[in-house]
């Protein structure tokens, strides 16, 4: 029975995959079927967000109930999430229309005041983490590649300042970013694309171990 189910699920996956693939090609006669499948994926994705939020709440509620280290933060998260959900529901029901001004949403204000501010602060910290990581790289392993990386980083950072006294360094920095960094990024993306193609075809062949277990 398990084998039969495995064959059935593999057939459905391969069939749907091939139909979607050929439907995406230009002038395909089955383009509408593919569009329907993609719409189904969007709906499933929306439901998955709800499941994701429930999972988050469940994980943190368990931490509170088990008294795990840092349970206080989990409690704060749990109640904050519930409060925001209730706020959005109340807002959608129009119960806050008289309280907030016209065109002002309480949840929008909360998002800007809390989420955006905190994320901006974290983004500001990111540069320090990265420079510190580069310094640590040299401490951990002094290789030619690490040395090249550090020198390039310094040149690009200094060039970014656009100090006239640095002269040619500004142009070198620009050249590194537009030619070398861009070429490297494209090479990386090409490699990822090739890996995606071969791994995707392997899944479509139905020989993946996950189909058999």
């Amino acid at each position: 029975m398990r084998r039969l189910l495995a064959i059935l699920s593999a057939s459905i996956v391969i069939g749907m995959g091939l139909i979607t693939l050929f439907g995406l090609l230009p002038g395909s006669p089955i383009a509408q079927v593919t569009a329907l499948f993609i719409q189904l994926v969007v709906i499933v994705g929306a439901v998955a967000v709800v499941i994701g939020v429930l999972n988050l709440l469940w994980v943190h509620l368990r931490r509170v109930l088990n008294g795990d280290p840092g349970w206080g933060y989990s409690l704060a998260l749990f109640f904050a999430a519930l409060a925001v959900i209730v706020l959005v529901l109340v807002e959608r029901l129009g119960l806050l229309d008289g309280v907030t001004g016209a065109g002002v949403s309480a949840s929008g204000f909360l998002f800007t005041a809390v989420q955006v501010s905190v994320e901006s602060a974290l983004a500001g910290l990111l540069v320090f983490f990265l420079v510190y990581a580069a310094a640590r790289l040299m401490r951990r392993r002094v290789t030619w590649w690490a040395l090249l990386f550090t020198v390039t980083l310094l040149v690009v950072l200094l060039g970014w300042l656009r100090i006239p006294a640095l002269g040619a360094l500004n142009d070198v920095s620009e050249w590194i970013r537009t030619v070398w960094a861009s070429a490297g990024a494209r090479g990386l993306l090409l490699g990822v694309a090739l890996g995606t193609v071969t791994a995707g075809v392997r899944v479509l062949l139905g020989q993946d171990p996950s189909y058999r277990e």
Partner: protein, 288 residues
Amino acid sequence: MDSTVGLLTLLFLVLAFVLLVLNTQFLRVLRQRGVQLALRRIPAYQQVMPPAVGEAVESARPMHVSFGGSGLGAETTVSALAASEVLYHLAERVAVGNEPPIISLSDPTALGLAQGTLRRAYQTRQRLGAYRSSAARWYPPGLAFAAGVGAALAEEDANMSVLVGRLGPELAFIGEAATRYDQVFIAQSDQPEGQAVGWVMSESPLIGEELYAAGAYLSRHPSALQLSQLLATEILRLVVILGIVLAAVLAVASKLGGVLSVTILIGAALAALLAAVLYARSTARGGK
């Protein structure tokens, strides 16, 4: 999709399909004759992950695997599947211990995939009773994901962190938390920004397409198809490199014209041939 791009995509897919089928048969024949394919050295898979997983089991510390922003139904589908392959092979090894792994993701469509993969790993070890669906956790995307995962790594004293899939520069926060608490940190991303951070912060990073080779490297008995996939990727890579070099040489030659262009063409062809031979030799020897 533009018609030229569509046709090229179809051509590559057909080529990949033909290569996979032919390579699989070729590798089966080699296996029957007792010949083994030498794999290119990837320290993260061969030298870092196996001992770190062993240490996690012995020290009863959890292992952390992250799918990043990879999920099902979008362009990150294959990277989510590849991440699940990494998870399966690592979870199958830690399933003998008492500490379940921590799985983090920011695309909720990957939640079911992660839970299913973890369940399969515990089932393989016949320890389904120890499986906990809450081991897979969704965090909101972006910097909130990094902050949440970084905090979880510190609180739960993870032994190793493997982050693969779609990750941006926020990877730095997680890497910093892992390094501060002396955890093994392995990172990969299909985004150049995330990959750059992963390379700097990880002692043994995975680069780009190396994620898709997980099955062949981490499996105890890799199938002919898994090895065939590696071979097909290498061949396709050579095809792309030769195509780029040829296009560049033709562009230069068309500007110069005459005897000089013929000389450049012959020189480039010889250089490409030499590079291909050297690359094949280094791959066969297992060097990078």
